[in-house]
Symmetry: C2
Subunit: 383 residues, 2 copies
Amino acid sequence: MAQPWSSPARVAEPDEQISFEELALAARNHALPLEALRYDVTPIGLHYLLTHYDIPELDPAEFTVTIAGRVTRPVRLDLPALRARPRVTTRVTMECAGNGRALLNPRPVSQPWLTGAVGTAEWTGTPLAPVLREAGLADDAVEVVFAGADHGVERGVTQDYQRSLPVAEALRDEVLLAYEMNGVPLPPQHGAPLRLVVPGWYGMAHVKWLRQITVRDTPFDGYQNTSAYRLRQHPDEPGEPVTRMLPRALLQPPGYPDFMSRVRGLAAGPCRLTGRAWAGDAEVTGVEVSIDGGEHWTPAALEPSDAPAWVWRRWWYDWQATPGHYRLQARATDAAGRTQPVDQSWNRGGFTNNLVQRVEVMVTDATSPPAAAAAAPAPNPTG
Amino acid sequence: MAQPWSSPARVAEPDEQISFEELALAARNHALPLEALRYDVTPIGLHYLLTHYDIPELDPAEFTVTIAGRVTRPVRLDLPALRARPRVTTRVTMECAGNGRALLNPRPVSQPWLTGAVGTAEWTGTPLAPVLREAGLADDAVEVVFAGADHGVERGVTQDYQRSLPVAEALRDEVLLAYEMNGVPLPPQHGAPLRLVVPGWYGMAHVKWLRQITVRDTPFDGYQNTSAYRLRQHPDEPGEPVTRMLPRALLQPPGYPDFMSRVRGLAAGPCRLTGRAWAGDAEVTGVEVSIDGGEHWTPAALEPSDAPAWVWRRWWYDWQATPGHYRLQARATDAAGRTQPVDQSWNRGGFTNNLVQRVEVMVTDATSPPAAAAAAPAPNPTG
């Protein structure tokens, strides 16, 4: 199995800028452009996208998914059979577990996300639990492994992408075998013709190009569960698994951008700051905003919602913008009492990093010339 | 007008890696993942995308485009009026003028494209020429300016994105006012609800979020025509304008990737190498392939086509892959005798760079263990 083509996972040197390997990943995969926080449901092409290997080509007419392993009645389902089953559409905010990685110091060297590795889609499919129950879960079943058709090498391990869930998670009502996104058949890059959707979990659990479901009586020891997606301080410790999304708020940057620095320009006056907030299990109970770089925090208004925590909610804060240079921040708190940190929580993989976003804004008096270059903010990463 | 927030355009130092500003652009904008060369028409979400500022939000119900300036009958058209006009669907391969920029040495600091800033779509809309003729072009008309709704600051200049075409180009039969892409209304990121499509030209001419068309009796001196998108060796020369696409071939990387390095793994045996080739005006007449890093070149088969040069054509080359490390390359030649260079053609903006692509492949004997790490190629950018 071991194919040692790529170097082991590593952490960048303190003064090391982005490498060409990281750039190649950033050019393939893409973030939600933050102005797209304006849409309740993210249009196709704007939702974040991470493809570990290549997008595989699967013929929908030939496609089947198998359910096997520790079940009494193994089954193989094609797309017409899946579509003939009960149909459910559910809205889910999905975030990459590595969101914010490139902002960490030191920086874990992998897909170099800033803050936009998120999106919200309407997924349509059939619930997984009845499929598993009909197949007849064995009494000793402990985990369910979901295997995709995407094939590659990662840190020396040749593999088809595979992730497991504990049986209790796989049996949650909300977990879907999804064949549509935003009302159309899944696009190739989002898992056509079938993917798993696990509301509340980071993106790595929502296996794309799903073609095999295997029930196990022992914990799965595959690469994506035991090597990748673990929270570690040192490379030789087993680490804790990455599971559900931590609370996060994102601010839709106000005004207009500078092409290169993405610093924002804004005319002085009233400005409604708005954005979205979500969490993995306990609902978001509040969002606070700081316009002074974190010195003071003020509660934002939060749109009422009956939806689960994993559906992002709109929030807003009315700001009377006066000329100057501002660093805007927003932070979410969930019902479990977790608040986004203002100082980073670091691990070697750069996972579950919900450090608060920072947005640099230059507010100009509409009646006078803009501020001089000397007053401009440094080109910090503002995601 | 001058808002000096961003630094002037510059060229990276010889040992300077990718900056956070470049990364922020790479995270927002995205390339065609090269395996998507398999699709004749690029699915939405996989076509390359470059947004200079933010994606604007325009209400289709309120939207109008005006045609004014040096015309006898200025006109304002809404979407129903545009849709009531003759409807044309045309396939167009569109490439960013900056494609390949990050591979240049030294590297112009801007959107850091590798080789994937391209895509092919089916655009539906109404031809521009009859609209201009009905408006009554003045005898002294020389250029037509197309203004989008996207607003921002670029190298100190606050602007709505605007580009002009010479009148003769604007009157070409193929130029469209497009309101659909691949059979659906334009997605927000591709210019909803209306964009210009100028087949054969690099992407900067296909103005998105098009809301104003102005006929002029003098050449347009706007930023995107006179400052950006010029071919210059020195910052103080006027430079030549960027116009039509140069010929280019891209190879769909064979085998499977390494997650981090994107180096390819491939089992020894017969392998059909395939890809696409296109050009801006004179048709592609040949594609050659090298499997030895450019020492030898062999003609590839080129799919017959009656389509114009700006619709990519499939090509293929049957390779008998034996174990080893290869650097694959492909180069296109057009009917005007232009062949892609194997050495870079450099300019300060990093435009019209059609240097041949390189794809690193490790071919392994399927019956023996994979090559050791020491034999792996260096992590060069391979796009």
